[in-house]
Point group: C2
Chain length 292, copies 2
């Protein structure tokens, strides 16, 4: 059973797309051919200059027509348009996957366009940085990170895809779509929303105060500004496409924050100390799980 793809198409040349190209190139498999496409001509030009793809295509159909694996690494808000564009040109038995952070929306947006003889297996690498664009990619981005697949059929094609993600260094797990969107709402989407908010709050302060906030930015705030410097289009699309799960988690968060707010107002040191002690143990578990 040959589990290797021979012709891989990457649609979207941002952090994720170019990291996949770097990682594939690092494997030095001469028989493997990559096709790269981005709607932005500037991004195509940069990838061409970096020489990380076998072919950089000027037309999206040329990027997919020969591929046995097509990876959609575009913002989730563009999945529908891209699926519609590529569908007529997909080869029989091609595996199509994506890297979007909201899986319910991608399933809804992409499935209806996929021909019957094509395997659409949605996925999501839990990997990223605050940088974006074609120059931000690097080959080890997926190393020791989970790459989730939301697809319940254990077919030959699923095995091929799992094998491919493992080749890039990832641990692969299969989860259900709705569950994925809930987990991501609390571990990724809500933290980003909060970070964007607090940096926004700081940037609305009076000028003197704002300048000194930047000058004296302490460690907590610095981390938040890093998160809040992530790609605005990607994140707009995430919140538009996982709004139910995000709003649910946000409601829980708001209740907890109100509790702590009250404890501060009432100077309830016992409650604050007990809350702050509890959260420490979660950190320890993450370190133990090797995900630092």
């Amino acid at each position: 059973m040959d589990l290797n793809f021979k012709k891989i198409s990457i649609i979207g040349l941002g952090l994720i797309g170019t990291s996949i190209l770097h990682a594939i190139k690092d494997k030095k498999e001469d028989e493997l051919v990559t096709f790269a496409y981005d709607i932005n001509p500037e991004h195509r030009k940069i990838v061409l200059q970096m020489k990380i793809a076998t072919f950089v295509c000027e037309d999206i159909k040329d990027a997919v027509r020969e591929a046995d694996l097509v990876i959609l690494a575009v913002p989730v808000g563009s999945m529908k348009t891209v699926a519609n564009l590529i569908a007529p040109f997909l080869k029989k038995n091609t595996v199509v996957t994506d890297t979007g952070s909201t899986k319910g929306s991608v399933v809804n947006d992409v499935y209806p366009y996929m021909p019957d003889n094509v395997y659409f297996i949605p996925s999501h690498p839990l990997a990223g940085t605050e940088y974006s664009g074609p120059k931000s990619g690097f080959s080890s981005l997926f190393k020791n990170r989970y790459w989730l697949i939301v697809y319940d059929k254990k077919t030959y094609e699923t095995k091929k895809l799992i094998n491919f993600f493992q080749t890039l260094g990832s641990f692969v797990e299969i989860v259900n779509t709705e569950y994925h969107d809930k987990i991501l709402a609390i571990t990724s989407h809500l933290p980003h929303l909060i970070a964007y908010t607090i940096v926004g709050t700081a940037s609305d302060l009076e000028t003197d105060l704002k300048n000194d906030v930047i000058k004296f930015s302490a460690s907590g705030f610095r981390d938040f500004t890093r998160i809040a410097s992530s790609d605005p289009i990607m994140w707009r699309d995430v919140f538009l496409n996982n709004s139910d799960a995000v709003l649910e988690m946000l409601q829980r968060f708001n209740e907890d924050l109100s509790d702590l707010q009250k404890a501060i107002r009432k100077k309830d040191g016992v409650k604050l100390h007990s809350f702050f002690s509890r959260t420490r143990s979660i950190r320890k578990k993450i370190i133990d799980a090797g995900q630092i």
Copy 2:
């Protein structure tokens, strides 16, 4: 004009206190003597074994009676008790400073106990990690970090203290007490509160979901758990002692969060994109200010 202290007392042997000891030891100034004390006998024992202080004292009064500089590196909730304990044993002309993260409370708690012939000059190094305890200190903690002084008199003693902080690698600036507490509320205290909250929210999820939150913890959440693993006593004290400024900033934050919540509910992509783009520029300014 000799700007060097000869006998330095460190009260409180946590991250900050032991980092100061490491940094002083690294200077290899043979004439400089350090006295170390912590209320916890275990911490004293560890510092004794690490050999980073000239003397580890079993009694707090022995740690201060010869010192020409006393540094209080205890949680801000303990400042009052410590000031009361050491006051009778302070030498004439001794400079006393502290490293607390809330300056209004420290001024209120310590000043009344200080003898007239002692110089109390409150300060705060904008430096830290999520680790705590006597083993967490390291000599470069203060390097290229701001060390703020809240004291408006430019005396010989202030100059000595500034010189000392600069020797540890810090940039020193003088700010006003209330202004300090506002800046720290938004750059440090509120981010910590938010991080504690979101990690708490996650730890209240149903068991399956919670386990997978840990397993699949993505980059946003990981950063929050790091912040939320900071010392619970230190942070309890911060919120109890800077409650006005924290509650004011929290109110602004809540207003902004409600706005974004509404934008998500209404699927207002234009608003989300514009907000997320604005916060990116703040990050750039912090990088330009060299505080990453």
